[in-house]
Amino acid sequence: MSTIIFLILFPFAVALALLVLKTDAARDMIVKVASIVIAAASVYLAVQYFGSGGEYFDFESETITYLMIGIETLLGVMIFYLGIKYKKYVASILAAIQTPVMLFFELGIGHSIHAANNLYVDRLSIVMVLIIGIIGTLICWYSIGYMKDFHHHHHEEPDRRPRFFFLLFLFLSAMFGIVVSNNLLWLYFFWEITTVCSFFLIGFTKTPEAIKNSFRALVFNMLGALGFTLAIVILGKYYGIMELNQLLAMGAMGVSVVLPVALLAFAGITKAAQMPFNSWLLGAMVAPTPTSALLHSSTMVKAGVFLIVKLSPVLGWNLAGVMVMLVGGITFLMASFAAISQSNAKRVLAYSTVANLGLIVACGGIGTYAAVWAAIMLIIFHAVTKSLLFLCVGTAEHNIGSRDIEDMDGLFGRMPKLATFMIVGIAGMFLAPFGMLISKWAAMKAFIDSGNVLLVMMIIFGSAATLFYWTKWLGKMVAIMAKQENIQQNVHKEEWLVLTSLTVLTVVICLVFPVMSSFLVVPYLETIYSSVATLALSSGNMYIMSAMLALVVLLPLLFYGKTSKRIVPIYLAGANLGDDLTFRGSMDKEVSVSLKNWYMDDYFAEKRMNLIGVIATVVVLVTVFSILLGGVL
């Protein structure tokens, strides 16, 4: 248990230290050492509890409870004040409702409920701890170089780096808290801290746009937190429980826990930026890129899906489950469509994140053995691959001065190494034989088995759209253009190190995924589901996949770029001017060749896709909650 407490407290201590220290050298040093320590501690935790599969800890402390209540109240007051200050009254109102309710409950009913096991570790927590501990710290490491450039680009503004790193490490601490808290009040506490961290990080640049978006994120997340609060109150008042494992046990025994579960799932949906709340995650892209990688793709949004995966045994074919399935499915479909119309790389990544989270949420909603297997695999693969892509875009942005995909034309010539990493990342997102596709395959099979035809159609059409927007991006980068200067020597050492590790990780986890599956995920599922169904992928198929992966890795190493053929200019209807980049246009003018991708705005306009998705999901949410509340009242 001491490892867990260390993992929560140590990043917090580092955060405080980084807030105080202002020199570059000290900051670099601390971030590097702390990253190594945190990563090592997470691995140690995994090794420690790997054999036993985890346990629950009888750990109580009045002081901690009061401390949490105190901090929560402070945060509530602060949000209330900031809401007034920036004239965002909705945030203030939500804070004014939520904080007193929580305070009243915790000091009243909550106080009388005895929660024995506040902390726990199981194999799912281990998976999450490893993601946070390894991917999270890699991102922190990357930030060292990135934030120097960022500060350099925004020189007129004050140096806010101490605050940035403070928030980053505070966030890591809170994330560790979320994945090991069994007491819902504790979980709620850490949940709130991640919300606040993300609020400050989105508003980091303090431009009007950033402030607007940060408040949107805050309001949506607080709506979810309101659901969380209500769930806690209902559980405390009517069921007399405060612990997550008791909630699941009650559900397993056949007690109807649909309403609190639906409320908790609602909180998860807001955090995971599902429609109708997806706009906060799109807005969050104004933040510095490491923030997007850390909070908005690999970890924080994963807190939302983590909760839903946790709840999945009590979801399935009940109202809460159907709500989660449909919201996830619709989000996957609509976000995939919307991604087609985007040319800003970060927005494409954001929509893809929303879509993949939707897939995980839908898997959690189905709640069968195979679906949850797919969901956990998706969480792992997505965390690695997406953080790689975000960080690549961050590096590209600082070196080519744009995050637009159209400007990444022929990136392969300008930054070959970066482009290779990006290509691995993109291929990892949607192509066989990489991890995301394997998980999607399993998810599809789980959907079919669950008998939900609508969901099957959503994944089928969503996948088709996924294929389109990733490949056209890929196409931009592989284009070979003449006369290009290599500009990648300006990239920081730290950035290369992190990008290389993540690329290697992307490939390696695909190779070792059968091992991960049979030693980490399947044992976890066996503790939850009594009946163990066969998995989607037979061992034969896994071998074929591994062989394909080996082929995909080996072929480029052996044959890429080798040719003895005569190289000739491209065909430009005979009007070439000799360099493949210009041709002789009408009136004898020189015209440069300019190629653009298709965005199909007539079909997949972002606004329209969002509108349809929001309306559909709002209908689902409202219907489900009216039925549930109608049953209660």
Binding site: P433, A464, T563
Partner: protein, 290 residues
């Protein structure tokens, strides 16, 4: 299907598919010519073209496109091998997607306007047909409880009895896959010269020959899909299935010669509408009766 039959399947595919595919292409050109009131080329013409391309001077526009085309060929062959070895239908579809992506990337890598427009159109076509292909796999899975081709061809029921809608939908998108008019948007084998040769504009000589042979492999594999709808454990079913495959191919030739090329908007609208009406409804009925 056990290991021996799998190996026989793979070996037969590797050797016979290019021969059958080339002959089919030759017959296609002959029948097309007759439909247009012409005499037409010899049946072996596709092979002459293939060997001629091998004899041409090797040229390329950059160092990498041949690599991508080679990957396209390798994965098309792997896809077909998996299919004829009785493998998993979803795996086969994913492998086919991977192969097609390599071809698109090869075209993109040339940075040539005609090739790029072809590549974008090819992607669009992929987006158009992909749902229906996946629905086909789902349909077989619900019917047989397995994605394995070996289980599908040895099942008691005949696919077409329960999957008529999906069959119609599949034949519809087969027109795209076989690059037939009205959907030959990306390569334009009938000289529609606004995009020269589209996707394949920058490929010449041996590279082009590799693409040709890959298409023969691919076409045989696609007809294998049609075969699945009619094959079951009955002894005469393979004969019926092969006859239906040939009839389907003839139908595609007829469609090819009867329609002018449509806009890309029509390709995606029509394919998705067909996928939703025929495919989805068929799936719903299947769930309802099973």
């Amino acid at each position: 299907m056990n290991l021996t039959t799998s190996i026989i399947g793979i070996a037969a595919y590797l050797i016979l598919a290019p021969i059958a595919g080339g002959l089919l292409a030759g017959i296609d050109r002959k029948i097309s010519a007759r439909m247009q009131g012409r005499f037409g080329p010899p049946i072996l013409q596709p092979f002459y073209d293939f060997f001629k391309l091998l004899e041409k001077e090797p040229i390329t526009v950059n160092r990498v496109q041949d690599f991508y085309v080679m990957c396209f060929f390798i994965f098309i062959v792997i896809t077909g091998c998996l299919f004829f070895a009785g493998g998993d239908l979803l795996l086969i579809i994913f492998s086919l997607t991977l192969a097609s992506i390599f071809l698109v990337i090869a075209a993109f890598s040339s940075n040539s306007p005609y090739a790029q427009i072809g590549a974008e159109r090819e992607l669009l076509q992929m987006m158009a047909y992909e749902p229906m292909v996946l629905i086909t796999a789902v349909g077989f899975y619900i019917l047989n409880g397995s994605f394995n081709i070996s289980d599908i061809v040895s099942s008691q029921v005949m696919g077409i009895q329960y999957l008529p809608g999906i069959f119609i939908g599949f034949v519809y998108i087969l027109t795209i896959k076989l690059r037939k008019s009205p959907f030959d948007l990306s390569m334009s084998h009938h000289g529609h010269q606004e995009l020269v040769k589209g996707l394949t504009t920058e490929f010449s000589g041996k590279t082009m020959a590799v693409i040709e042979i890959a298409h023969w492999y691919e076409n045989i594999f696609l007809l294998g899909f049609v075969y699945l709808f009619f094959a079951n454990s009955l002894a005469w079913s393979p004969v019926l299935a092969v006859v239906v495959c040939l009839a389907t191919y003839f139908l595609e030739i007829l469609i090819d010669n009867s329609y002018a090329r449509m806009k890309w908007q029509f390709a995606i609208n029509a394919s998705w509408i067909v996928a939703i009406t025929f495919g989805f409804v068929n799936l719903l009925v299947l769930y309802f009766i099973s």
